[in-house]
Symmetry: D2
Subunit: 219 residues, 4 copies
């Protein structure tokens, strides 16, 4: 039988295709993306990484004892990733202080936190795998199609590095192990969460590309 993570991916081919062909990624590869758009993404993804730490922390709290060291390393990795953002923000004159999450960024983060707290460890773990797999595949797509030198290459390199690939591979095989022999009703829930995560990922590129804002209300 096919490993569980491959089943998930093959059921989401259409969604994955839509993500990889999203203009944000294609234009980042071709160099056509406007600096303003990329910087908008940089700000929102900075918020996202910051607030992914609480999400991973709740997963750690629920994780089986033998995975805890891995999760502590994931947390350290996210903390270091913030440094990558700060360094590039400075180089490109991007403000990272007092940012406000745009609606999709906010919603996606609420989904992560709500799932971590209200669902089982494995359900939260599936969401983490889906999110990280989208990131790996998205930036691999950019790297593959990259024309010339990109001002954003540190980001491209970050999520296509061997270390990041190994991390996502580890998530995949660990998910396969954890999902072994589960009854169908539990598997169905994992499938749904995997897809929902992918959809929020798609909407995240949309948000950055369209420079989404909250409805202009109040202060």
């Amino acid at each position: 039988m096919r490993p569980f993570h491959e089943q998930l991916l093959s059921e989401s081919k259409e969604l994955w295709g839509a993500i990889l062909h999203h203009p944000f990624l294609q234009e980042t590869a071709s160099g056509k993306i406007s600096a303003h758009t990329f910087k908008t993404w940089m700000q929102q993804d900075f918020i996202f990484v910051q607030e992914a730490i609480p999400f991973v922390a709740v997963l750690l709290a629920k994780s089986p004892e033998n995975l805890r060291t891995n999760f502590i390393q994931i947390l350290s990795g996210l903390d270091q990733e913030l440094g990558l953002f700060r360094k590039n923000a400075q180089a490109h004159g991007v403000n990272l202080d007092n940012l406000k999450a745009a609606p999709t960024c906010h919603s996606y983060l609420q989904f992560l936190m709500s799932t971590a707290y209200n669902c089982s460890f494995l359900e939260g773990f599936t969401v983490l795998y889906s999110a990280e797999k989208v990131y790996l595949d998205s930036w691999m797509e950019v790297k593959k199609k990259l024309k010339g030198k990109s001002p954003w290459e540190e980001f491209i390199n970050n999520w296509t590095s061997q270390g990041f690939q190994q991390y996502v591979d580890w998530l995949a095989v660990t998910l396969d192990d954890l999902a072994e022999n589960l009854p169908l009703r539990q598997i169905e829930k994992l499938r749904e969460l995997f897809q929902t995560t992918g959809r929020y990922e798609y909407l995240f590129w949309e948000m950055a590309y369209r420079e989404e804002k909250w409805p202009a209300l109040g202060k």
Copy 2:
């Protein structure tokens, strides 16, 4: 000094105005709303009430002992409200089985759950007050401007009833009590959550009116 709940409302006047003038509410009052649009709302709000139960349950878990009986009554009230939806759905031929939350409905519910779990009781309580106050004011606006008999009057009556008004008043005075003498940093957080809730409420009417869908991806 003005009661805290009044401060919150006066800071959100513009947002409240945008909510009350939303075409969904105005057209429900004037009778111009299409049956399809209203039924879309009915389905999404059914999901919302169903999933508000877990939100209120986590608030109950964190509530001070003297408020627990009230919270158990709120839970019973939500459970009964589902009956109102089922009855009207049957009368109007609306399907309530195997519904899928549209993006904004999903996001808003994630925000409720995430706040209940990750924030303090009072922060979650402020979100509950904001959501219920929007509902009271929204349906009062519909009732005030109502032209003739509406096919949706059971909904209008539900959230403009004396019982519902008293419940929202209780939320307001209880919030005032709980927020007494808090340091500014805590008050600021409550303000922000109050506004964010109102914004999701605005987007919820938008979602219903525009019949929002997830991007057409995968199954």
Copy 3:
């Protein structure tokens, strides 16, 4: 195959025997229990029921949609049970204000809350079943051996009533359903939680009988 709840019970025969033969229960049945000891239990169990509400509330938050109405009823039942304590406390001159949980009462409640939050719904549900089943069987033992009229008969009647029996039966068959086709690693965790709950129940009778106190430290 034997229903899952029967497997759990048959693996815990020795523990159940120790609980049912505990002097607190035997002396309550024979009438030899001192009023002071029973009143100590009454105070601690009042705290326990009060704080079981947050436990059940978190279970409700995680429960599948089709069980939520049941959980709301369980919460209402606990709230009413507090009335039983208040009524009997008044009749017997027992103070219920500003009580302090004794160590075992405190610990057991922490175990309930921690399990509800950090574990899966089914794990928390198993703990609830274990706790309620001990109560049913304990008070049935008292009722069976009861000599003459007891000053505590309202408590005896409460947890041996037909309504309470039906509730515990419902917990049992629902647990059987939820545990169907689970992999062994998940079943093992349920077994362990079932036993741990029973052990805290045993210690709870010990606490009441020995009038356990925190080490006499500080104020």
Copy 4:
């Protein structure tokens, strides 16, 4: 005004005295402690450190953004501390596999998890400070009274090191900052949690010294 952490300590003088004079610590210092007793502690404290990781992880999830890096370091520190246990367990022939938490170890850990999840960040933080401060002071007491060379000196050195002192100092000043200008009702809750933590710490030494067991029931 005295810093808040000093107020807490001065209100707990009697409790602190009882902890520091506990025979477990005094006999560890004098060398009279039996190897079996110390090894029992070593096993239970290994479990404690393992399960303190989920506690700190939930605190991290709720922590303000500016404290997250610190919390990730605390998690790494706990993970490394497990290495100290493993190394000493091997040197002294102590088994660390398939251990079972004794009642007090289990209860104390449930209290940590329940507080982290159900209470505010600051309430959980106060518990962390209390627990770590007891450890610092306890092992400082051992170090101060130490007669000759101890077989357990790596443990003594670990919790009296400059690094550990600085960490506990950081907890103290951070607690002072976070508790500034809080209303009395919030301060009272912090006081109670500080004391309850200290009491569980006292009981933990008792558990180790008396080699506490679950009532001999079932398998």
